[in-house]
Symmetry: C2
Subunit: 243 residues, 2 copies
Amino acid sequence: MEARVAEQSTAGQANKRRVTLTRESILEAALRLCSPEGGGQLTFSRLGKELGADPTAVYRHFRDKDELVLALTDLTIQEGIELARQALPDGPADDWRAWLTVTAQSVRTSYLARPALAVLAAARTTASPAETHSVEQLISVLHRAGLPVVEAAECYRALLDLTLAMTQYTAAFSILDPQAQEKDEAAWAVKYGMLPEDEFPLLHRSAPRLTELFRDDDGVFALVLSTFLDGVAVRIERARNAG
Amino acid sequence: MEARVAEQSTAGQANKRRVTLTRESILEAALRLCSPEGGGQLTFSRLGKELGADPTAVYRHFRDKDELVLALTDLTIQEGIELARQALPDGPADDWRAWLTVTAQSVRTSYLARPALAVLAAARTTASPAETHSVEQLISVLHRAGLPVVEAAECYRALLDLTLAMTQYTAAFSILDPQAQEKDEAAWAVKYGMLPEDEFPLLHRSAPRLTELFRDDDGVFALVLSTFLDGVAVRIERARNAG
DNA sequence: GTGCCGCTGTCAATGGCATTGACAGGCTCG
DNA sequence: CGAGCCTGTCAATGCCATTGACAGCGGCAC
């Protein structure tokens, strides 16, 4: 169907042949559009062009844009989980920390491959059947590490929101036109470079690191994640001592 | 000037008297629109109506919407910092943890009072001069607690992104029409309620807590924040032992 | 005081967006 | 062979940000 769509979109310019859409072909095309290479913008008109069909034809398969986005996030989450599985084929293997890190990073990676989707997805948390097993596994990992079940579930939820929120935050920034990004960056650089040393001694000393972190969203995420997991470790310790 | 604008907007319906806008009056009106009571949507046409002026008049004071939003986030951050100051008038007082918690929560509160702004603000990190002192103070608190300067700065950055990202995440959800929210909620409830106990034992046991957390974004944030700060504590401990 | 200029509000228009309803071709089922 | 549904097409609606031409009002120079 990949091939078919491509064929249509190249040849379909002249002859007005109807293209037959399917849920799958639409999702594929939409994912392509969401990636930076695909233009990084998901709109019905672009989607129509990509499919070689009228934009409104999509409405025959998805009630509205929201429903389309929901389906796309579902796919993306699934892909992230799959990615994690490939990275750590042996499962948790008693190292809860590595497992959680890889899982979070994988989901983040999948999302960031399609920043436009991440932005659209906003706060829609799909109750995807695909991820259910992963959630059970995640909780189980934390539980075996020593956390009571409910607390393990809380940690899962916290980690999930943390990851999605920060990923969307990054995606939103990466969507901005380069001009605006540079403007922001310049503002920061000036701000941190020009600070009077006597009034802001600490800020002055950490300015290099801060400007370095400015563009390194992944670095900041890694920082947050590892600090958060340090916190989880503390909780596990506490639970063990209490139990 | 507040009064003047108000006077105009009440009396100005009939007589087409020109309203004189100022940067301040615009920002005020815009903030009002961003709050749920004000309609929760910031558009030029609404803004024009609110001001009793032509929508496009705003362009005389702000180059585009982005610039307006930047100014608004600046105000909001300032307000958050002010809030924190009021909550803890004595300053850090050697309790870094309380200080960081209150600061983060205050910024979050200010943002959530205007969800529409939070969504628009997305990843624009303003280099607001207003907050510079707070940043210096924040780093100083962590430094006095025992963290090397650079690491303190890293923690600041991590905490900032964490807070903003999660707040915007929450705001994005709260913006959705109630119908969509209910749909999501229903999906979750079904998902967690219907889980076969034998296949997902842990998920089944934690289902009540998870559905409880579903709508409680503030609770999740508190959870993330406190876990993160546990992690910071670990780092402080490490640094002390190493130094 | 007079004339000019710039500041700022107004108006009309543009192009993009999601979404809707009427229409039409082709497919399947009877 | 015919009815009806599935699905693509087309035209139109309403909201959005943004732009360019225009117009009044104020202050400034002379």
